[in-house]
């Protein structure tokens, strides 16, 4: 079944994304990993939408894309501010939140 392969692709992308979020120290890379995760979800949505022959999944995927765009906007703004204040975007240096 073709859907299987879509789901496999989605799963692989998801894992790569999670790996990136956990391991990467660069804030931009983390943002990109989050994008990967969101898009792996999109692939799943589209795969099921194709199998069921309905537009719902496509529509939902469009919403996800819009939300992802907004998220990147906010994220990049944060990265920019971080850079402006500290001259670095390394996440490992951000430990003021330490309790």
């Amino acid at each position: 079944m073709l859907v299987n392969q879509f789901l496999m692709l989605g799963a692989v992308l998801f894992c790569i994304g999670v790996y990136g979020v956990i391991v990467r120290k660069n804030a931009v890379m983390v943002l990109m990993s989050i994008e990967l995760i969101l898009n792996s979800v999109n692939i799943n949505l589209l795969a099921f939408s194709l199998r069921n022959g309905s537009v719902d999944g496509h529509t939902f995927a469009l919403y996800v894309i819009a939300v992802a765009a907004a998220e990147v906007g906010v994220g990049l703004a944060m990265v920019l501010l971080m850079y402006r204040n500290r001259r670095s975007i390394g996440l490992d240096e951000l430990s003021e939140m330490k309790g």
Binding site: V21, G53, V55, L91, L94, K98
Partner: protein, 777 residues
């Protein structure tokens, strides 16, 4: 019906590889764009080699397609229906709705393909020199190449969605290229203005496409087996008698609003002159010869929709012809008060686009398309000439009054090409503009729009006059400012810093002396070669459709104008009776006898309305030539008196005469349209909302808040004394102690490391998912 068609003697239309694969043409620059973006900076020529090579490749393919199209037409009988080569692949489909992507190649397509690929190639070659050393050299070529990909895609588009795709890519590239030197505030403001103004029109494009789709889809699917987005489907549908007049009128008006925005027609023309803030090659390619004719192309592409929807050739003036006529005159008048040479050319472009629109609105389809063709060459040449002047002689200034003058001695090649293109623009015989512009004016009159013929002639007078003024200020008289060797670079430096710095570096590295020590001089061959090629075409391209010399010279009409025959839906000319007699008689009688556009086809479909063609008369040509020369001479006389000899009567006339002064001020402020848009319309919408919100804030919200505040204060006093001190504090203190203990034990988790938070998040999500799976199975 089918049997009848197959019985008749069919001439098999020739085709060929280039025609069948015209969809490759936009793909080449698209791939090249990706290459420039990813590898451009590492290449020896910083990515420009990809751009130039892809444009030359696209030009070769376009030329091949044009050649094979001409073969195809020549192989058929005169006036016969030449089926376009249409291909579609499914792009997206779901639930019975499907969008295609593909190609629709006919005479109009190959004409515009040639123009776009040709001008793009020359402008990219020109930019090699003009932008040398620019800090965003690679990105400039990337945007330029992407623009060409978008425009070529729009031209070969098979359906409206594909057309919109190309249209929007062009809009984006226009924005990026106008704001190429965005460090200067004025440039980025101009880019935004261009983007938002065309965007206003684009609303019409989406609306029109949607309206037409829902109105036409049923008919096109049933009759032709194509969707309601298909260009061929829409054209046939418009002439079929099926559309309700409301739907097609709304659709046509909406699409025309898009054309108004993109092609700088009144009242949305205000962005085009400001778009001159971009580098000159951009003005030359996007904002004069190719992108801005996209609106004209859109109207020409689905012409039957406009023909039926707006009742072209019907009684009375229609929307298109009125807008076109207004645009010609107001833009030409504005060109007189500009001191920036590029702005003169920009208003001239707006005015010429008005001619094209007026032609389309009056049923002069072919002359309008022909004017796109010739205008592209001479206007691109004029812009590149202006760029050559600023590059080599006036220290990157475009101010005619301040920094130019007397340049004809220093820049002989630029001067000659400028003069040729100016004569072509003014419409002097035998330059190309004469053949196209006079055809438009002639046909507008012939179709019964007498008022607009006079508007066209007045426009020709004004064109000749303002171009003479610009030529005088630039090339004649005595050198002024930067051209005279004055270096006001120190004070002017701030304004041009972004460009000048780079230009200086490049000049130094290329062995030139510093700017200060060399006066005006001719530009290098990378700049003059495109100028010479374009000027040659400005001189000669008119002979492609030289109506004055008789029928045999009307090649473009033969190759490009779609035949108005009634055909059966499979694309073969439809014949009543099956013997081919009806068709033969129609051909013998001259094919201008078709009923398409005036009557509903009974059997079969029409693809193009039958248009009229004005017979050529030397008397009319003599009249317009006389008008042009009158414009030139009167303008020359005034210029010499005003700028050359400083005639006391003329200098400062606008300050002494109140009426003239008012008119001058009115023009200088561009009819106050910018003020209207920015101060009145934007403010009328934004201000009341802000004011209303403030009033609600002050009176209602604050009142509630204040009232709530005072009553809350009394209650709070009581609560504080009784509940808070005694009951709550006890609970809080004990829970605080408990929380402190719990927090202490959880403290290590709050490491402050973002990555670790992520790991925790996904780890717990994974555990949750596992639990879910276990529960569900």
């Amino acid at each position: 019906m089918l049997a009848a068609a197959t019985e008749m003697t069919e001439t098999v239309l020739s085709s060929g590889w280039f025609l069948e694969n015209a969809w490759l043409i936009p793909i080449i620059p698209a791939i090249s764009f990706a290459l420039i973006i990813f590898f451009g900076k590492r290449m020896p020529k910083k990515g420009s080699e990809f751009g130039v090579a892809s444009m030359l490749g696209a030009l070769v393919l376009s030329a091949g397609a044009a050649y094979q199209w001409i073969q195809r037409v020549n192989g058929a009988e005169e006036g016969a229906y030449i089926a376009p080569i249409i291909k579609t692949w499914t792009w997206w489909q779901n639930d019975g709705v499907s969008l295609g992507i593909g190609q629709h190649v006919d005479g109009l397509t190959v004409t515009i393909l040639i123009v776009v690929a040709f001008i793009s190639s020359l402008v990219q070659i020109y930019s090699l020199e003009y932008l040398r050393g620019d800090r965003r050299y690679t990105h400039f070529f990337a945007s330029l190449t992407l623009f060409s990909a978008g425009m070529l895609n729009m031209v070969v588009a098979e359906n409206m969605i594909q057309l919109i795709l190309g249209w929007e890519i062009m809009g984006l590239c226009s924005f990026m290229l106008i704001g190429h030197w965005w460090e200067e505030g004025a440039n980025s403001r101009a880019a935004l203005k261009a983007f938002f103004t065309t965007r206003t029109g684009d609303i019409g494009l989406l609306t029109g496409t949607a309206v037409l789709y829902f109105a036409a889809n049923e008919w096109t699917t049933k009759t032709l087996g194509v969707s309601g987005f298909s260009i061929r489907g829409l054209s046939s549908w418009a002439l079929s008698g099926d559309p309700s007049s409301a739907a097609i009128t709304v659709g046509a008006v909406a699409l025309f609003i898009a054309a108004i925005g993109k092609s700088g027609q009144f009242p949305l023309h205000t962005w085009l002159p400001d778009a001159m803030a971009g580098p000159t090659p951009v003005s030359s390619l996007l904002h004069s010869s190719t992108m801005v004719v996209a609106g004209v192309f859109l109207v020409a592409r689905v012409y039957p929709v406009f023909f039926e929807g707006l009742n072209i050739l019907g009684s009375g003036a229609n929307f298109i012809v009125i807008i076109g006529g207004i645009t010609i005159v107001i833009a030409a008048l504005l060109a007189f008060v500009q001191t920036d040479i590029k702005k003169v050319l920009a208003y001239s472009t707006v005015s010429q686009l008005g001619y094209m629109m007026m032609g389309l609105g009056a049923g002069a389809w072919l002359p309008a398309v022909f004017h796109i063709f010739t205008h592209a060459f001479f206007k691109a040449c004029l812009f590149l000439g202006a760029g050559s002047i600023s590059h080599s002689s006036s220290h990157h200034s475009f101010e005619m009054k301040k920094d130019m003058g007397g340049l004809r001695k220093f820049m002989p090649i630029t001067f000659t090409t400028w003069i040729i293109s100016t004569l072509a623009l003014c419409g002097v015989f035998p330059f190309s503009g004469f053949f196209s512009k006079d055809e438009i004016i002639d046909n507008v009159g012939y179709s019964g729009y007498n008022v607009f013929m006079i508007v066209g002639l007045a426009g020709a007078f004004l064109t000749a006059a303002y171009m003479t003024r610009a030529t005088y200020l630039t090339f004649f008289g005595s050198p002024r400012g930067a051209s005279a060797g004055e270096h006001h670079e120190e004070e002017g430096h701030g304004a041009h810093a972004s460009h000048d710095d780079d230009a200086h570096d490049s000049h130094d590295t290329h062995g030139h002396d510093a700017h200060a020590s060399h006066g005006p001089h001719e530009s290098g061959w990378l700049i003059t070669a495109p100028l010479i090629i374009l000027a040659t075409l400005a001189l000669s391209s008119g002979f492609l459709n030289a109506v004055p010399f008789g029928h045999g010279w009307e090649n473009l009409k033969k190759w490009v104008e779609p035949s108005a025959e009634v055909i059966n839906p499979t694309g073969v000319a439809y014949v009543v009776g099956g013997a081919g007699e009806a068709r033969v008689t129609a051909i013998e009688a001259g094919y201008e006898k078709s009923d398409c556009g005036t009557k509903t086809p009974v059997d079969g479909v029409c693809v193009a309305p039958q248009l009229k063609h004005a017979p050529f008369k030397w008397s009319k040509a003599a009249l317009s030539t006389f008008i042009v020369f009158a414009g030139m001479l009167s303008s020359w006389f005034v210029c010499v008196q005003l700028y050359g000899r400083k005639n006391k009567k003329l200098v400062g006339l606008t300050e002494r005469n109140k009426a003239l002064g008012a008119g001058y001020k009115f023009l200088l402020n561009k009819y106050y349209l910018d003020a209207l848009y920015e101060n009145v319309i934007v403010r009328a919408i934004a201000h009341p909302i802000a004011r209303g919100a403030y009033w609600i804030n002050q009176n209602i919200l604050d009142g509630i808040v204040n009232g709530a505040g005072t009553s809350a204060k009394t209650v709070a006093g009581w609560v504080y004394r009784n509940v808070d001190q005694k009951l709550v504090d006890g609970a809080v203190n004990s829970s605080g102690n408990a929380a402190q203990a719990a927090g202490g034990s959880l403290q290590p988790v709050q490491s402050g490391k973002v990555n670790m938070y992520g790991a925790l998040l996904f780890g717990s999500a994974a555990i949750g998912a596992l639990i879910l799976v276990i529960i569900n199975t």
